[in-house]
């Protein structure tokens, strides 16, 4: 296989707050190859958005990327080394802030956010914003940029683009605004687009249209995507490979078909089981018990053990590192769960433990601000 377009290794992003250090992203690694759509799934608070902002180095104080490597097309977006005194400092080949701003963001890696109203300026026309973006990033004249902007609007399915060019964001529906942002992201033909829950706020019908459009455009421009979502149905529909995140870690990583049909991590199975199905009537839903613990003070051992129906004593003690569990010759399928033989830490012999999942529902205070129970 060729080199990955983007390669993230052991990325750690932490937020230093008064209450303690929030380890929002805690050592995740994944690759994105050319022309593929990679999913990043998880519940709210799993660290998905922090991970994507870290890739663009958009994490602001009190947050900081504290470790790991991010390589993009052979260039180092982030990398640390030890200096003579033993302190960590950025490596020399790491891109400077101005290089990131001028060359990478928008041109090479574009991002589409969840809320299109907040990404567009309400006091400028939609066309004007798109034109300005194209003008600056592609060094076109104003007139040429306008032509290009109208062409892009037509490309993403905005009706009557010439007349809508002069309208303001509030005159567009949510789906239309999201199309404008996708047009903006595609305008510089970047190699990678990060889509951070772009269809979550939209109706299913509109979501369907947009996903279909993204797939068409993706084939046409051969752009890679990182698709951040909490919706397994969206993952099933468009992703090639999927990373499942839980509490700052990637706990399972597989091709989309393997993830759904050969699920290796109990969290992924629980997530799939908890969804109501549109195509059949389910008598009772099986929710994941409890809530996600806080990232300030994650549970010892496996982070999911407090909610896991299959938790054993050993899960509380051993912190599983994700391992490749695929048989030889198959596509890689990694999971971080000690129940698999590959870990060999005595899961079988270990006694089952009482957790929220096994001991019935308890509304424990584990969320932000809950304080000590």
């Amino acid at each position: 296989m060729t080199d990955p377009l983007l390669s993230v290794r052991d990325l750690k992003t932490q937020f230093f707050t008064e209450d303690g250090t929030v380890r929002a992203v805690d050592g995740i690694s994944f690759d994105v190859y050319e022309g593929e759509i990679v999913g990043l799934v998880g519940e709210s608070g799993a660290g998905k958005s922090v991970a994507t902002s870290s890739i663009l180095r958009l994490v602001d104080s009190p947050g900081e990327i504290v470790g790991g490597e991010i390589e993009f097309k052979g260039e180092t977006i982030f990398g640390l080394e030890e200096d003579a005194a033993g302190d960590l400092r950025p490596r020399d080949e790491m891109l400077s802030e101005s290089e990131m701003r001028k060359r990478i963001r928008g041109r090479e890696i574009a991002i589409v956010f969840q809320d299109p109203m907040e990404s567009l300026n309400p006091v400028f026309t939609v066309g004007g914003q798109l034109r300005e973006f194209i003008e600056i990033n592609r060094d076109l004249s104003e007139a040429a940029a306008k032509t290009e902007a109208i062409a892009m609007l037509r490309e993403v399915g905005i009706p009557a683009p010439e007349s809508r060019y002069d309208e303001y964001p509030h005159q567009f529906s949510g789906g239309m605004r999201q199309r404008v942002l996708i047009a903006m992201a595609l305008a510089c033909q970047p190699d990678l687009i990060i889509a951070d829950e772009p269809t979550t706020a939209l109706d299913v019908t509109v979501e369907g249209e947009i996903l279909e459009m993204v797939q068409e455009l993706q084939e046409k421009y051969d752009t890679s995507f990182i698709w951040v979502t909490h919706d397994m149905s969206v993952v099933a529909e468009i992703c090639d490979r999927v990373n499942v995140m839980y509490l700052g870690e990637i706990i399972e990583q597989a091709e989309v078909d393997d993830l759904f049909y050969d699920t290796k991590h109990p969290y992924t199975s629980a997530l799939l089981d908890s969804m109501p199905r549109p195509d059949e009537t389910v008598d009772e839903l099986r929710p994941i018990k409890g809530v996600m613990p806080e990232a300030i003070n994650p549970p010892a051992g496996c982070r999911f053990h407090s909610r896991c129906p299959e938790a054993r004593e050993v899960c509380r003690e051993v912190h599983p590192e994700a391992r490749d569990l695929s048989a030889g010759g198959e596509a890689a399928h990694t999971a971080a769960c000690v129940k698999h033989d590959a870990f060999d830490v005595g899961y079988e012999e270990s006694p089952a433990i009482e957790t929220e999942a096994t001991g019935g529902f308890s509304a424990g205070f584990t969320e932000t601000g809950g304080g000590a129970e």
Binding site: V204, S274, P276, E284, A363, T368
Partner: protein, 450 residues
């Protein structure tokens, strides 16, 4: 209009909504709706109301869950608020336990409110951040003069337990709870006055899937325990399928289909319901994805399409009587008309357009002549003229545009009534109440177009 649509006064019904309308003023202020013209008297008053809910009928039986589903902007939330008289209805009636809420006001209405409660979408903003959870739950009891201080506290604690929280949480503030837990507090508050009906406006759509399932399960348990009736609004059909007994599908202020859950999901008789069902993503990579998506946006409720409101996006618009086109030629023509309406293409050469939109079938005869005329206009860049021909001579002639559909068809699954507002059902309907519009089309020859 007597034998079609939702059944007439059903003795079991807890809530009966009849021809309910809610219109909003589009503009406000001194000169609202005033238009200046060139002719005497130079000013005119124009009515440009937003017709958010426009003639809705349905019943909810005691102890059932009626799911109400539709895209954003179709009027679901306005309907819910109007049913509860949080908004003044423009017309129509809402009978709740026999009394017409639309005509009540003042103290009698306030007392009725005790029996109907609401849960909102955003669990964060529906709880006062400066009040502790206990007092929040007690507030409705206080407003309705139920119990004394200790009695209320005891009941609040009991309810907190019932909704799956800890009675110890009585003294905590809402910010200390997660989204799912806050929605449980909302449930406890709604339950505190022992209501008969709870209107739930997207209660789980702001929650993560795993939490969503927990809350849905709790809601079902509570329904069984307290004998509750739910009007459950959601845009997520998976959730609707899970929780509802009967389902109403809403489009642009109207209910277009209403049937038992299984019947509606397995045997939808309205193209809009079909389209919505096709659009739901299935969490299964082998399902092949979604098919046949709707195109275009929901039209404005200020000036909704005549006849069937879905006709501007409907994949199955019926061919006007005047023509005798092959079905695929008619479909191509409709697709072409929509493309012109959206100015979807730049090419103006008739041959290019013909091969792009009418490759497999092109209308012949009268229809063909009109199409040639429209293509000629496009070639000369006269888009509006082309559009006028396509709309006036074809689309507006269809029965879908001239008559409002209202049919009742036989249910395949279950024995409940099945209401479907689509002219495709005109030949199989067991009852109909089609309102022929001002311009009647000639005598109808029955034909199946399905």
């Amino acid at each position: 209009m007597s034998e079609v649509g939702p059944p007439e006064s059903d003795p079991d019904a807890l809530l009966q909504v009849r021809n309910l309308e809610k219109h909003f003023d589009n503009e406000s202020g001194l000169l609202a709706g005033v238009e200046f013209t060139d002719e005497f008297p130079y000013v005119s008053q124009s009515a440009s109301d937003v017709r958010a809910v426009d003639g809705v009928d349905f019943d909810i039986k005691e102890g059932e869950t009626l799911g109400l589903v539709g895209e954003s902007g179709c009027g679901k939330s306005t309907l819910a608020r109007t049913v509860l008289r949080l908004l003044e209805p423009t017309a129509g009636s809402v009978y709740f336990q026999g009394a017409d809420l639309a005509s009540l006001s003042g103290e009698p209405l306030r007392r009725k409110r005790k029996d109907m409660q609401m849960i909102f979408q955003d669990p964060q903003s529906s709880l006062d951040p400066r009040m502790k959870v206990g007092p929040i739950v007690e507030e409705p009891m206080k407003a309705h003069g139920m119990l004394d201080d200790e009695g209320r506290e005891a009941r609040a604690k009991e309810l907190l337990t019932k909704v799956g929280l800890d009675p110890q949480h009585y003294n905590r503030y809402p910010h200390a709870f997660s989204g799912g837990q806050r929605q449980r507090v909302n449930l406890a508050r709604a339950l505190s006055v022992n209501p008969d009906l709870i209107v739930c406006d997207e209660p789980v759509s702001a929650l993560d899937v795993s939490i969503q399932a927990q809350v849905l399960n709790t809601m079902e348990e509570l329904q069984a325990e307290f004998d509750l009736t739910y009007l459950f609004i959601a845009h997520d059909l998976s959730v609707i399928r899970h929780i509802s007994d009967r389902v109403a599908v809403m489009y642009l202020g109207n209910i277009v289909e209403l049937a038992e859950k299984e019947e509606l999901f397995e045997n939808p008789r309205h193209p809009y319901t079909r389209a919505l069902l096709d659009a739901i993503p299935v969490p299964d990579p082998r399902s092949g994805g979604r098919t046949a998506l709707l195109s275009g946006d929901v039209p404005s409720p200020i000036d909704p399409p005549s006849g069937c409101r879905f006709r501007t996006r409907c994949p199955k618009v019926i061919q006007p009587e005047a023509y005798d086109m092959r079905d695929d030629a008619w479909r191509n023509l409709v697709a072409f008309q929509r493309a012109v309406d959206r100015r979807e293409f730049e090419a103006t050469d008739p041959d290019v357009l013909r091969s792009r939109y009418f490759e497999d079938a092109i209308p012949s005869g009268d229809a063909g002549t009109l199409l040639d005329e429209a293509l000629g206009h496009i070639e000369r860049d006269e888009w509006d003229d082309a559009e006028r021909i396509l709309v006036e001579r074809f689309v507006d002639e269809s029965v879908c545009a001239t008559a409002e559909p209202a049919y009742e068809v036989e249910s395949v699954l279950g024995d409940d009534r099945h209401y479907a507002a689509c002219h495709l059902r005109r030949n199989e309907a067991v009852a109909s109440a089609v309102d022929e519009a001002a311009t009647p089309v000639g005598p109808k020859t029955p034909e199946a177009d399905d």
